[in-house]
């Protein structure tokens, strides 16, 4: 769909889209690092998290 934007609106849209895409890229990168870190920690011997058997005491 073509939207009748003024050049100023088009420039504003593109700047915001670029910043959003950059932020999303950084977020996805951070998630990769997070999952990698969790995996490494979980593979360490004796690094199991405490059991969750009695949540609602």
């Amino acid at each position: 769909m073509t939207i009748d934007w003024t050049p100023a609106e088009r420039a504003a849209f593109e700047a915001r889209r670029k910043s959003r895409n950059l932020a999303l890229g950084l977020l996805l990168g951070a998630l990769v690092v997070l999952f990698f870190g969790i995996t490494i920690v979980k593979m360490e011997p004796g690094a199991r998290a405490p059991s969750a058997t009695r949540a609602a005491s």
């Binding site: 939207i3 009748d4 609106e9 959003r20 969790i38 979980k42 690094a47 949540a55 609602a56």
Partner: protein, 314 residues
């Protein structure tokens, strides 16, 4: 038939004439949806509870737990803003938020909030433990369903109930370390729960005009300023003994206990001054503003003392 006729006469929106609101939402708008200020308090109290909890957690998993708590708190804030966009538009303090300002569509905020809620709970469960994930899910559901949707617009006790939502992160933080909960985290929960009414009602006293305009049944709007001042004193009288209880019961040392007694005395003195006040105009409410500011310092110092006490006894 009338409805059909009316609908038929409403002109269709011309999406070609103006850019859609989504075109102008940037990452800062999504960040603003997370209510970063509220997130700070939640992260701080949860981190203190994690340090005070007996046991050990791998630093990276501890960081992951804090991250999940922060994101879940932010997600609750986003869902809250999605539901309250209509009243946010009426209040000066909230009118510039992304939804009332027309920077994004409600559906975007809703899906953003749901995605973050589900993601943070899932990661907490998979990476840390399912007890913490359970309490994290409870905190989000409580804030969104019980406080925001059910009670906020129906009862002047909304802030009291909302206090519970803000208190859950200490339970989550504790459970992240121990996989369980015990008396001390529930006392910490009670402290935040009882601290919330004096804190927010002090704010509501000098923001009364704003809440009145939005039709939110805050206590000063429904029961008047004098009644609110009395309730502030009442909850302060309940708060101080509960804040000292961990030391009295031997769950903490007296480094925490001494701080709780000192800060509690100051809190009571300020609440008493507010209860004696008669000012009707916000500009004359110096005591209320002072109590509001001190209440933030109070909670920070109390939980800071808890951490210091834990480290001293380690």
């Amino acid at each position: 038939m009338t409805t059909i006729t009316r609908l038929a006469t409403v002109p269709k929106p011309d999406f070609r004439s103006a850019p859609p609101p989504t075109a102008f939402a940037e990452w800062r708008d999504y960040f603003a949806l997370l209510k970063p200020r509220v997130m700070t308090l939640v992260v701080f109290t949860a981190a203190c509870a994690m340090i005070a909890a007996p046991g050990r957690i791998h630093p990276f998993l501890g960081f992951t737990a804090i991250l999940c708590i922060a994101v879940a708190a932010g997600a609750s804030g986003a869902l809250n803003q999605w539901y309250e966009a209509d009243i946010d538009a009426l209040m000066k303090r909230t009118a510039k938020r992304p939804l009332p300002a027309g920077k994004m569509l409600p559906f975007e905020a809703l899906s953003f909030g749901i995605a973050l809620s589900v993601g943070s709970v899932a990661i907490m469960g998979l990476a840390v433990n399912w007890a913490a994930a359970f309490w994290l899910a409870v905190s989000v559901l409580f804030y969104v369903m019980v406080y925001t949707v059910w009670l906020k617009r129906r009862t002047p006790q909304n802030i009291v109930i909302g206090g519970a939502a803000g208190a859950f992160p200490v339970i989550v933080g504790w459970a992240a370390v121990t996989g369980d909960t015990s008396l001390l985290p529930w006392l910490l929960f009670a402290i935040i729960f009882l601290w919330t009414p004096p804190h927010f009602w002090a704010l509501a006293l000098f923001m009364e005009a704003d809440y009145s305009k939005a039709g939110v049944p805050m206590l000063p709007v429904t029961h008047g300023l004098a009644h609110t001042r009395g309730q502030i004193l009442l909850y302060s009288l309940l708060l101080v003994p509960v804040s000292i209880a961990p030391a009295v019961l031997g769950l903490t040392g007296w480094a925490y206990g001494g701080t709780a007694v000192t800060l509690g005395a100051i809190f009571l003195w300020m609440a008493w001054k507010v209860s004696r006040g008669t000012a009707d105009l916000a500009v004359d409410m110096a005591n209320e503003k002072q109590l509001f500011k001190f209440s933030l310092l109070y909670l920070a110092c109390l939980f800071g003392a808890l951490v210091a006490d834990t480290l001293l006894r380690a």
